[in-house]
Structure formats: structure tokens, C-alpha cells
Amino acid sequence: MSLIKLRGLEKTYQQGKIAVPALRGIDLEIESGEFTTIFGPSGSGKTTLLNMIGCLDKSTAGEIIFDEHSINDLNNKELAEVRRYNLGFIFQSYNLIPVLTAFENVEFAIRLIEKHSKKERRDRVMSLLEEVGLGEMANRRPNELSGGQKQRVAIARALIKEPKLVLADEPTANLDSETSQEVLELMKEMNRESNTTFIFSTHDPQVMDYARRLIEIKDGKITNDQRRD
């Protein structure tokens, strides 16, 4: 069963009077539990594609089916609901809230889903922080953490609500190569353990190597799609 199905997906940005086509007919299926990378040159449409899959933006043409449901006709509020319950995001620049501690940043994502008691929340956040190797640093603010540590907090924040899908747009672009590999190692481990689907974009061949499926995109079209085991 596919988690995501894209059919003839197109996205054209309007820049003043000029139409900028960013995606030109994407057909793609992603299964539950995949660990997939999207790579391609700058401006090829990676971010645009991830935004479409992440229910952050609307397509110009084509269809997106997420977990058996078409999301084409959802309004902004409904899209926000989909993101809130089903999606995790990891950003290039971490985007942690500077006034909150590591613990609170992770907790933030499940406070939006009001189904856990305070104690339950605490235990889950702490055990996840330990899993990403930050058990000791739960009370630190982002500015007291290194880049790699911040991205680990962000990974924990993306995973805390046990989403069906985690999207990461160039998660290692701000990290040195050693830290990048540690972060990817962690993501892969999480993918194995929880069977959460991951899609990430990158420029970096070393980072791509971690993926089990590599999708290449150029000029808004998929030019190569291969699986490795």
C-alpha cells in the first residue's frame, strides 16, 4: 500500500507576469517505511516537491494522495490538521524556538495534539531525547547546543508524535561532513526502529549514500529513480 501517490503533479510559480515552472509532471509512489532521498541540482524543484508532499503548498495541476486520501480539495485549516497529526518536519536551519529548552521544543509538537497526560508527555519526550543522545541536555536552550545537537532535537521534535511521514529539506546543509553522517545515521536508525517513512533532499553524495531509494530530479522532472538494498 502506498503512503503517497503523486499523479501528474505540476507547480508553476507566478513571478509578476512571468510563470516559473518548478515541477512539470511528477508521477511518484512512496511506500510506508521507505528511506528516500530526492537529489538534483540547485533550482531543480526539490524544495517545491517536498512542500507539495508536506501539504504546505497547493499544486497547480495533478493529484496528491496521502494515505488513501486526496488532499487536493482541502482548505488551509484542514491541511494544517493533516500536518499536525501525520507529518514531521526537519529543516536545514533547525528552526527551534530559542526561548524554549530542548525538552520544551520537542514537547511543543505533541502539545498540539491534546491526547497525552502531562506525565505521559514527559516520559515520552525524555525517552526520545535519550534515544537521540541528548538525555543530559534536555534543559539546555538551542543557543547552548551545537549544530548537530540542534538537529537531533529537531529530529526528536519531528518524531515525537509518531508521524506517518518525516520530511527533511537538506537537513545536513548547515553541518560538517562528520556531523552530517551522524545525523543521517540517527535518522536511519529511527526509520528502522519505528518504521517511519523518511524523505529528505540533499546535494551531498555522501549523504545520499544512506538512502535506500534515490530519486533524481532535474528541471522539475524525475530523471532517475533507483532502489538499493
Binding site: N51, G54, L56, D57, N76, K77, A80, E81, V82, R83, R84, Y85, L87, F89, F91, S93, N95, I97, P98, V99, L100, F108, A109, R111, L112, R157
Partner: protein, 416 residues
């Protein structure tokens, strides 16, 4: 909601200087509002009291004709009883009415004293001393001697007036006046008391004498130019007025006019209008301060664009993002308004004791107003200032918060 509040509160500390400036702006505005309200309230309450004591009573009964010619101090249109009843009977009837506690007759007429240089004009009031002392604060203002006593040819007048006619307590003075039959006459009085008052009316215009003496000199029967009715509470004057009017109508007193203190003086009506106008001034003042907050929030939204994008990606709805920023504005408003209300309260508390001297501004103005104003120190003013600060700032915070809520998540995330 609770965790949004928590974040909004913490966010205030991200740029402390900017937050402090915003809070100070609100605090200052609220403080000025609390102070101004205390001052105006003090002034108005004091002015109402003066008008009631020396002009209108709670309800004033005069002849309708007299009302039109009040400034002439005519003696042709007096209150001289009702139907077949004498003035004394009319007074005791009125005292029986629900809510009326005291009925005070005053007989006002023009008089003059000639000195070597000039003829000094004055306003003679024939009064019932016991009632005047009970109703007004003349007792407090009587700096020398005593009040006039019924049956005697004696007067009490203000310090400034005594200076003008070059006399002092214990001496005699001859006054000239026009009787009810328009003849010009004179009489000599003993000065038995001196009044020292901030109020120009008492200080340099009025000369008090016993009402029976005045009647005798003016060839009047049992008459007065006006009757002042006093109830328990000035704010209930309107409630008792219909019964008074009804009494006048039922007993053949159609020629009389009964008016409550609010209706009787145009200056009081003016004050009431100005109180409403001041409310708009307060609103304007808070709006000015909230511009500082709006400006701060606009900068904040600009700086945190990426963060807004992140929150939106995590599933916060635009309404929640809007709340987050409004809450930050509200938090500043709460702290600023609280500080301002307390500050204003302290100023009022202090000035309520020592007074605020206005005399320079009112030197030549002919209204009943005390030149030293004692602001009232009421919790009500603080609550008002606090509430208007919080409410107005919170409402204006919607403007920048909407901008944050309207951001497209993808656009917000692209922002560096």
C-alpha cells in the same frame, strides 16, 4: 492555549529593551489617565459640591419670572408661599416630602458700600444661619468671629471684601440698597464675622445677614427669592423632583419652577459633557501608546518569519499563530497597565492629601470653582486605566498578529 501563553510570555524576553520600551509607553499612558481622571473627578466633585452649596441646592424652587431675570436680583418675583399657605407652611410641607431633609430659604439682593474712592458693589444674602451652617461648609471657612444671628443688624463677609471697604470684624458698616418698592435706602450693620475662602464668590462678593433682618429692611413679608431643597444624596435629586413638582402643581404653585442641580446650571451640564469628551482623550492616549506596541510586534513578526513558517509546518493553525502574537502584546499591555495604574494611584493618593494648585489658571474666571483641586484617590480610576490599557492594546495587537497569521508557510520558510 496555555502553552501558547507560556511561549508568548517567554518571547517577551527575546529583545528586552524593545519590550521594556513598549511596556513603558503603555505604563506612561495609563498613569497619565489614572492621574487625569483622579484630578478631573476631584475637580468635578468639588465643583458640584460648590454649586449645590452656593447656587442650586439639590433642588431649587424659584419663581418662573425670576428665573429669566435672575441676574437682575429683582425683588418682584419672590417665593412667598403657595395657594393660601404662607412660606413657613410651604416649607414644612416640602420637608414632609419623601427624600427631602431640609428646606433652605435665601433672599438675595444687591447692595453697595461707599468708601472714599469708590462704591463697592456686593451681593447680600439674607439667610437662616443654622441651616446654612448645617448645609454648607461655611463653619470651616469662618476665620474670625461668628455667623449672624436672627433678629440682629449684623453681617458676615469675606476677607477680600473687607479689604475693599476698609473694615474689619467688630467695626460697623453702612450699606445702601433698593427696597421692594424701589426706594433707595441705607442701614448700618455690625460686622460680626469674617470668611476666608479660596472661592472668589465668598471671598469678595457675598455679604451674609439674617433673613428676617433683610425682609424688614426691604419691606418684604415672609418671602425669599429662592428655596433650596436638600436630600440625603445629591445623585437622587432627579428621583425626588417629580414629587416636588407634583406638590407645586396640586397646591396652586404654577408660577414656581423646580429644578434639580443637574438641570439648573449650564456649567454643570458643560462639565458632564466634558467628562465624556475626556473619555475619548483617554482612548486617544492609549492608542498612541499602543502604536509603540504595534511597531514592536511588526518588527517581531518580521524577525520571526522562519519561526512562523516552522510553526505552521508543525500544524499550528493561523488562528493559533495570531493568538500567539496577540498574547505577546497582551502580556506587555498587562504589565504596562498594571505599572501605570499603580503609579497613577500613588500620585493621586499623594495629591489627594496636598492638593494641586490651579489658582494661576483661574484668576479671572467667573465660575464657582475651587482653585486648589484635590484629586480623588479611588481604586475605580486605577481599574479604569488598567482596563482601557489592556483592552485597547490587545485589540490593536490584532493588526500585526494578522500579518503573521496570513503568511504562507512556504514563503515564511524561504525567508532567511
Amino acid at each position: 492555549m496555555k502553552f501558547l501563553m507560556n511561549i508568548a510570555f517567554k518571547n517577551m524576553f527575546r529583545n528586552k529593551l524593545r519590550t521594556i520600551v513598549s511596556i513603558l509607553a503603555i505604563a506612561f499612558a495609563v498613569m497619565v489617565i489614572v492621574f487625569t481622571r483622579g484630578l478631573i473627578d476631584g475637580m468635578v466633585a468639588d465643583t458640584y459640591e460648590l454649586y449645590i452649596h452656593y447656587d442650586t441646592g439639590h433642588i431649587k424652587i424659584i419663581d418662573e419670572e425670576y428665573a429669566q431675570k435672575e441676574r437682575l436680583l429683582s425683588l418682584n418675583y419672590t417665593v412667598n408661599g403657595i395657594g393660601d399657605k404662607s412660606l413657613t407652611e410651604m416649607q414644612s410641607d416640602l420637608e414632609e416630602l419623601q427624600g427631602i431633609e431640609m428646606v433652605i430659604p435665601r433672599l438675595k439682593f444687591g447692595a453697595a458700600v461707599s468708601t472714599e474712592e469708590e462704591l463697592v458693589q456686593m451681593l447680600a444674602w439674607g439667610v437662616n444661619s443654622e441651616k446654612e451652617l448645617a448645609f454648607t461648609n461655611l463653619a470651616r471657612e469662618l476665620s474670625q468671629g461668628r455667623m449672624v444671628e436672627a433678629g440682629n443688624r449684623e453681617v458676615v463677609m469675606g476677607t477680600r471684601l473687607l479689604e475693599k471697604i476698609n473694615r474689619s470684624v467688630g467695626e460697623k458698616v453702612t450699606m445702601v440698597y433698593t427696597t421692594a418698592f424701589s426706594s433707595f435706602q441705607g442701614a448700618t450693620f455690625e460686622i460680626v464675622g469674617e470668611i476666608t475662602s479660596n472661592l472668589p464668590l465668598l471671598n469678595e462678593d457675598v455679604v451674609f445677614m439674617p433673613i428676617d433682618t433683610a425682609r424688614q429692611l426691604l419691606y418684604l413679608e415672609e418671602e425669599s427669592t429662592e428655596l433650596l431643597l436638600v436630600g440625603e444624596n445629591r445623585d437622587q435629586a432627579e428621583t425626588y423632583l417629580p414629587a416636588v413638582q407634583n406638590y407645586l402643581e396640586q397646591n396652586g404653585g404654577e408660577k414656581y419652577l423646580a429644578q434639580s442641580w443637574r438641570g439648573g446650571s449650564s456649567f454643570i451640564q458643560l462639565l458632564e459633557v466634558s467628562e465624556t469628551i475626556y473619555n475619548f482623550v483617554y482612548l486617544f492616549l492609549v492608542l498612541l501608546a499602543s502604536i509603540v506596541v504595534i511597531n514592536t510586534l511588526v518588527m517581531i513578526v518580521k524577525e520571526r518569519t522562519q519561526e512562523i513558517g516552522m510553526m505552521s509546518a508543525l500544524g499550528l493553525k493561523s488562528s493559533e499563530i495570531m493568538q500567539l502574537f496577540i498574547l505577546e502584546g497582551t502580556a506587555m499591555a498587562l504589565i504596562g497597565s498594571l505599572a501605570g495604574a499603580i503609579g497613577g494611584g500613588i500620585i493621586n493618593y499623594y495629591l489627594a492629601g496636598v492638593g494641586f494648585d490651579y489658582s494661576a489658571a483661574f484668576q479671572d474666571v467667573d465660575i464657582l470653582m475651587n482653585p486648589i483641586i484635590y484629586p480623588t484617590s479611588k481604586v475605580e480610576h486605577m481599574l479604569f486605566g488598567f482596563a482601557i490599557g489592556v483592552v485597547v492594546t490587545t485589540i490593536t495587537a490584532i493588526i500585526p498578529a494578522r500579518r503573521a497569521a496570513k503568511l504562507e508557510p512556504t514563503e515564511a520558510l524561504r525567508e532567511i
